[in-house]
Amino acid sequence: MSFVWKRLLGTVPSLAGVIVVTFLLSHALPGDPAAYFAGPAANAVSIAEVRAKLGLDQSLPLQFLHYLGDLARGDLGHSLTTGQPVVTDLLQRLPASMELTFFALVFAVAIAIPMGVWAATRPDSLVDHVCRATVSVAAAFPTFFVGLLLVYVFYFLLDLAPEPVGRLNEILYTVPPHVTGMYTLDSLIAGDWPVLAASLAQLVLPAISLGLFALAPIARITRAAMLQSLGSDFTRTARASGLKRGKILFTYAFRNALLPVSNVLGMVFSFLLGANVLIEQVYGWQGIGAYAVNAVLASDYAAVQGFVLMMAVLYVLLNLLVDLAGTLIDPRVRFEA
């Protein structure tokens, strides 16, 4: 238990760093937000008024204290484009992004781990080479390009996938009653099978495009970790004792290869959360990534800042989760820490 507390405390410096950086990004940079907020018709007096109202006439440390106070109250400011509080906007769109990322991760893990294990059991065989080729090709394709190619092939040419109009074709289907905000889960709860099928169909292509990006690192590390644990003494002993192949492969080798695999997940999440933005843009997915892109293009600072902060906090928490999962996989981690 003390390990969990230590690891929880370990997130404090990360979170503090994240908050300082997001503050600096918006406050210590060239350009005058007051002039921007005051609008094109402003004069010196009205700009000064806006500056005082926004607290921008105070010293940087004082502004930082105000920023902390606002954060503590869960206030990220108002979005210029939607006119709503940024927190409301983000929370409204977060389930869409989570749903997409989750399905992408499931896809990546479901393909990459068996592929890595298979390749490791037969080094330098055809399977191994196919695995290696897939990994290097997947690593070279920009996510957004893969997304567009899939749309072209599976929607335009083959007509297998639905039109990429976002999370649900709202002309044909009605959005399920809001429970979690994730359409697949909500339609499942409502027992609305056609909507469930439709929202899953919309998810397939974006989840695959996003997942392909995460596939390469997971497959590579699985292969390397499996090779190592298959070559280790305990596997040799297990083999010498005449244990069954499956038992050696999964109970002995795979369980020991799991820790490096779970450790690489931290990096994979960094990729996924970033690439999410690009995929949402391609598929018209109404998540926080698409929201942030619009905000950046409209110079909607509060919204961008809120987005960066939320993603970073999410990422810190995911890393925490990965580390805690690591202690379940391998109890030795607890003592090393």
Partner: protein, 283 residues
């Protein structure tokens, strides 16, 4: 003696992996486009032609034309300079700054190490592409800021790598000997340690180039940095994306393929360079 070993190493690395040779070929092609693209291109990349809008690939326009009738082949060729330029500048800046910070942190330890470590941890606490977006949004929407953002998100990889490599070598015999010979701390670091960590750092940089290209192109794909009508692969893919539904595939496939080719080339080169300079790391 040294030359023949190096020569044999090169032959071995290329012979072992023909792909590295292919990568060198692609690299030469890309560099040719980057340097002389403007004069080699069959058309001017910015000239519009109302009569030839969205024409499919043909002998006059091998890659077809876009919505304004501009020749896509010419635009793809000319864009090489900007795309490679942004990625190379970012990697060079990251390499230099990361090497300096990491070497100082690893060599001196103590508070420089703690400060650099904390700084890099803070960068790594963000999903990196998201941080890059935030930086470009805050600093302003220009090509220079794309380079800067790409540099910042790559910094931790170089800094941590350099720190680790320096740390390992700090107590090695030849470093001790240099110190015994009466050299001061800084000259030992600069003249004896850093030259020895440059080869593995170069491998790191080459493996990193592909990622830097993807990152810069990703930022311009969502509309940051590069502005139309400037030819750039990411923005061309995003301009072509609106024609998928009507089937004009060449508008986004060719610039996208150029990106894939460039990233693939640098990834292969990185692998080849690693085999050449640091055979122990081969997996």
């Amino acid at each position: 003696m040294r030359d023949t070993t190096l020569g044999r190493n090169i032959v071995h690395a290329f012979g072992e992996n023909r792909l590295t040779l292919v990568a060198v070929g692609i690299l030469l092609l890309l560099l040719l486009c980057a340097m002389f693209g403007q004069s080699l291109a069959p058309y001017d990349p910015l000239t519009t032609d109302g009569a030839a809008k969205l024409s499919s690939p043909s002998s006059t326009h091998p890659f077809g034309t876009d919505a304004l009738g501009r020749d896509i082949l010419s635009r793809v060729m000319v864009a090489a300079r900007l795309d490679l330029g942004m990625a190379i500048s970012a990697v060079v800046l990251s390499f230099t700054l990361g090497l300096t910070l990491g070497a100082v942190a690893g060599y001196f330890g103590g508070w420089p190490d703690r400060i650099v470590g904390r700084l890099m941890d803070t960068i790594m606490a963000f999903p990196l592409f998201v941080l890059a977006m935030g930086i470009v949004a805050a600093l302003g929407n220009t090509e220079l800021n794309i380079i800067l953002a790409t540099m910042i998100i790559n910094l931790p990889f170089y800094s941590r790598f350099a720190r680790g490599e320096v740390n390992v070598r700090r107590e090695m015999g030849y470093v001790e000997a240099a110190r015994m010979g009466g050299n001061k701390a800084l000259p030992v670091l600069i003249n004896h340690i850093i030259p020895n960590i440059l080869p593995p750092m170069m491998v790191q940089a080459s493996l990193n180039m592909g990622w830097a290209i993807l990152n810069a192109a990703g930022l311009s794909f969502i509309g940051l940095g590069v502005r139309p009508p400037t030819p750039e692969w990411g923005i061309m893919v995003s301009e072509g994306a609106s024609f998928i539904i009507s089937g004009e595939w060449w508008t986004f496939v060719f610039p996208g393929a150029a990106l894939v080719l460039a990233v693939f080339c640098f990834n292969l080169l990185g692998d080849g360079l690693r085999d050449l300079l640091d055979p122990r790391r081969r997996i």
